[in-house]
């Protein structure tokens, strides 16, 4: 291959390093109005009245809207359409939007918000999982779900769990807590809308133009063909810009009312309240193992603190139970999950969506089991690894799997097995897995998940795709694939992406799906185009198509430009299209839509740290990470995704916390919300492992999320190695380390973590038979 596998610069690198990339807030068309949003100061209250008359009288105010102007509810999942762009009946968290103003400048808009009078009947807020499980003092937060403030309960059982525990040599139970944290993108959310000829155009900092398009159509009550959504240059998402947001709908409505462009950029404080980040999750896990360390059965319970609305929460809940089986061969598995509503900003997807929390619990739990049995934790985990080309007990299809090689690489490089044993120094180890794209769409449909069109005209190549480059480099991946197939360089390919008017659909940058899905669509489109160019060239050369070589800007005896003229003369306008639909591999049970992916990535990680007995401070010296990406289409970009994931995992493990006091965020600023700086970040050594997946484009799998997952448990494992105390709750703050050391010194369990898991009224589990052993071979034969 000529360009696939090469560490080439990103196609948008020059725009990014010169400041010429245009982000949503950089746009300021003539006559733009500025929008500010009035938000609730109460975590839970009924709205009795909203008086906007004084705001409307302020010179420079052109429009004021409330919930009465946008009454239609929306939400990312079809089952939880529970949000309004502006609430006029009830507010459910501090920051819930109530009214919006469009004015000639931002200060006037802000003053107009202050002039809006809202009367509230303040209700008792529900601020914790425990409180949400109890009967509410005043009223429930949402009018669906239940009992009390429970949003969703799920219970699934695969295989003979009772029998598995009966055959176990040892059974162990543990409880863990993973604190919530937020994405903290450097760019605040921003959106700008115009309205002309009955058509709305929105430029937004979003990860998914298609889902915004759908929500706008529903709430504005306009057909989708009257709405155009364009992804502006993107200043960081990490899952935080995957929901449709109130401000995106509001600026469209205000543009429709005023006939002028309207822009809304959230303040940094508003970004903390917009959230949709990592769910705080309390977890209980019980596992039976045989004498040799093989798992005989596992029972996993989760309780997610969801915040005030549904968001992606139902999916998040299933994800806390889905992927345990994709690293370890668990013959019998029971999962019970619960998401509750609380009066806090809604949680949703953050890098790893619903899986870093159970991964944290699972890795530490297995390590404790190994120590109970006197086995090496690395060896115990290895004995239970899944094998390639298998089905898990919950029907997930594993194709390529580089777990063993990942472990070998980090073990060898870090010297984990021969590490120096002294108090205050430790090394820890963990593995993980993640999806290469969700196998099912957010809303049920039979259409492809990604589509690519290619146009060739006088030697110029343009590829069109709805995928949104959020900085991960998806545009570069598309250009690389098209260039590879057509014998060009990525810089030769023009891209039109993330524009609902001009590009065919892609479901967006979430669930690590773009390289795999848009990549496969691009391969198909480019191969069709290549076939036309080759056929026309072969006719001119008087040879078989198979004799025409493609590469280095040439097709057979002709330059690419000459070949494109020959092909256009032969076929007319040169266009081609490709699409990708994931295989239908979900199991035959309700809830099986969350978890399946056409391929899974694998990671292994070792953390080396010093932990100070006197201060409780943890200082990470180095991290080794190996990631099975299938095939690195651009190793430079893969390394960037792996290193960025490790960084974000380290932030979650050591310092990042989204927590609240009396409904208010404790630290809604970039100084107080601690995240790792240049000085906190250790050296990271990255190993790319290539297993060449049979379904990935050129064998590629995901890289952007999976490598985050092993970092928090590897860090806690290293803290135990250094000080002999378990920190079963992240972030690992000095206070927690010191408290665990104090307990250890008093002869109590040497542990800091949640004492127990609360009683939750899970329903009886849906019992699912494991898949037949030859399932995938049988279906392949049928085709």
């Amino acid at each position: 291959m000529k360009v696939v596998g090469k560490p080439l610069p990103k196609v948008d690198a020059s725009a990014k390093v010169t400041g010429r990339a245009i982000y949503a807030d950089d746009m300021l068309p003539p006559r733009t109005l500025h929008c500010r949003i009035l938000r609730s100061p109460h975590p839970h209250a009924r709205i009795l009245s909203i008086d906007t008359s004084a705001a409307r009288r302020i010179p420079g105010v052109l429009a004021v809207i409330t919930g009465a102007d946008l009454p239609v509810k929306f939400g990312i999942l079809p089952v939880t359409q529970d949000e309004r762009a502006l609430e006029h009946e009830k507010v459910r968290y501090v920051g819930d939007p109530i009214a919006a103003v469009a004015a000639t400048d931002e200060e006037i808009a802000a003053a107009a918000c202050d002039a809006i009078a809202v009367e509230y009947d303040v209700l008792e807020p529900v601020m914790s999982i425990d409180a949400a499980l109890r009967e509410p003092k005043d009223e429930r937060i949402q009018d669906y779900g239940g009992p009390n403030n429970i949003h969703k309960l799920v219970a699934l059982e695969f295989g003979d769990v009772e029998g598995g525990f009966a055959h176990a040599e040892t059974i162990r139970e543990d409880v863990f807590f993973y604190q919530g944290n937020t994405h903290l993108p450097m760019e605040q959310h921003s959106a700008i809308a115009t309205y002309l000829d009955g058509k709305v155009t929105l430029w937004s900092s979003t990860q998914v133009v298609h889902y915004v398009h759908r929500a706008l159509s529903k709430v504005l009550e306009l057909p989708m063909n009257r709405i155009r959504v364009i992804g502006a240059a993107h200043g960081g998402g990490f899952g935080g810009k995957t929901d449709p947001f109130a401000h995106e709908i509001i600026v469209c409505k205000l543009a429709m009312l005023t006939g002028r462009p309207v822009k809304c950029t959230l303040t940094r404080e508003e970004v903390f309240y917009a959230h949709r980040g990592r769910h705080p999750v309390l977890m209980w896990v019980r596992t039976g193992v045989a004498k040799d360390g093989r798992i005989t059965a596992m029972h996993f319970r989760t309780a997610l603190d969801g915040g005030a609305y549904g968001s992606y929460g139902v999916a998040s809940t299933f994800y806390t139970g889905a992927l345990q089986t994709v690293t370890y061969d668990i013959p019998a598995y029971r999962f019970e999950g619960c998401r509750v509503f609380t009066n806090k900003p809604p949680c949703g997807p953050k890098r790893g969506h619903g899986t870093p929390q159970p991964r944290f619990a699972l890795e530490l739990h297995l390590e404790k089991i190994a120590r109970d049995l006197g086995l090496d934790p690395v060896e115990l985990k290895r004995r239970n690894f899944v094998q390639p080309n298998t089905r898990t007990v919950n029907w997930l299809r594993v194709t390529s799997c580089g777990l063993d090689e990942c472990v070998d690489r980090v073990m060898q490089a870090s010297g984990y097995a021969t590490r120096e044993k002294r108090i205050g120094h430790g090394m820890g180890f963990a593995v993980s897995t993640y999806l290469s794209g969700a196998g099912t769409a957010i809303y049920w449909n039979d259409m492809p998940h990604s589509e690519v069109q290619i146009k060739v005209d006088r030697g110029g190549v343009t590829a069109y795709c709805g995928a949104m480059d959020i900085g991960q480099g998806s545009d570069s991946v598309l250009a690389t694939i098209v260039a590879e197939e057509l014998g060009l360089q990525p810089a030769d390919v023009r891209l039109v992406t993330a524009d609902t008017d001009t590009t065919p659909i892609d479901l967006g940058s979430y669930s690590s799906r773009v390289t795999f899905m848009a990549g496969n669509a691009a391969v198909e489109a480019a191969r069709k185009m290549r076939a036309m160019l080759v056929e026309a060239t072969a006719a001119k050369m008087g040879c078989e198509a198979s004799a025409v070589e493609v590469g280095d800007g040439r097709i057979g005896d002709f330059s690419f430009e000459e070949a494109s003229v020959l092909a256009e003369a032969r076929f007319g306008t040169l266009t081609s299209a490709g699409s990708y639909t994931p295989p239908r591999i979900a199991g035959p049970y309700k809830g099986s839509g969350v978890g399946p992916s056409p391929a899974y990535s694998y990671s292994a990680c070792v953390v080396d740290l010093d932990a100070d007995e006197r201060t409780g401070l943890v200082s990470v010296n180095k991290i080794w990470i190996a990631h099975d990406v299938g095939r690195a289409i651009n190793p430079l970009l893969v390394e960037g995704q792996v290193e960025g994931s490790v960084y974000m995992g380290l932030g979650e493990a050591l310092m990042e916390e989204q927590t609240f006091r009396k409904g208010l965020h404790k630290w809604p600023s970039m100084l107080e919300y601690k995240s790792p700086t240049f000085l906190d970040m250790p050296e990271v050594q990255t190993f790319i492992v290539e297993t060449v997946d049979p379904e990935g484009p050129y064998g590629a799998k995901e890289a952007g999320q999976g490598p985050l997952l092993p970092v928090p448990p590897a860090l806690c494992s290293a803290v135990y190695d250094a000080l002999g105390v378990w920190i079963d709750e992240i972030p690992v703050t000095p206070e927690k380390v010191l408290e665990a050391l104090r307990r250890k010194s008093k002869g109590e369990p040497a542990r800091y973590g949640p004492p127990m898991f609360p009683p939750i009224p899970y329903p009886p589990p849906i019992k699912v038979e494991p898949p037949p052993k030859d399932l995938d071979h049988a279906s392949a034969a049928a085709i």
């Binding site: 390093v17 450097m186 900085g471 430079l636 240049f678």
Partner: protein, 164 residues
């Protein structure tokens, strides 16, 4: 979450020299250098992340030294040379730092990149061969959420070695 209250605006004519170009503008005296660069001068390469001086995203150079433009009033920088990311390249030729950031993938979403490039420019101009720890120290006030910082350290080292 309380918004600001509207107040009468004082304006003053202010002379600025940005990227070697001199301009006089009538500006509200409370408007920050960040806002003036972006809204009045069209220099949107300078980004904003917090507008409280916490994230380093809006870093520009004033007299060659990094300053947070969200905390600076234009009146404070009259008579001093201001450099933004738009002033780094020589014509269409990228500055060695920009070139190295592009080559090594040091810009992912690219939003923090202008501020980091300018802070790095100030560093390599005063310390032509910075160690990795010196680069970390110089850039400690600039947050990046994408890269994990590794590629940025590599790029600054590479650019410094090429410039030296």
């Amino acid at each position: 979450m309380k918004n600001e209250t509207l107040r009468p605006v004082d304006r003053q004519v202010i002379a600025l020299e940005v990227n070697g170009e001199r301009t006089e503008m009538l500006l509200p005296v409370h408007k920050t250098l960040l806002e003036v660069l972006r809204e009045d001068m069209g220099l949107t390469g300078t980004k904003h992340g917090c507008e409280l001086g916490e994230c380093g995203t809006c870093t520009v150079l004033v007299g060659g030294k990094p300053e947070l433009s969200c905390l600076v009033l234009p009146i404070q920088v009259q008579g001093q040379a201001v450099t933004t990311v738009e002033g780094m390249a020589h014509g269409s030729q990228l500055h060695p730092l920009q070139q190295a950031f592009a080559e090594l993938g040091a810009a992912q979403c690219g939003y923090c990149t202008p501020g980091i490039l300018l802070a790095a420019k100030s560093l390599v101009e005063t310390n032509p061969a910075p160690t990795r720890d010196e680069i970390r120290e110089a850039l400690a006030g600039n947050l990046c959420r994408c890269t994990g910082y590794s590629k940025i350290l590599d790029a600054v080292s590479l650019a410094a070695s090429r410039m030296g």
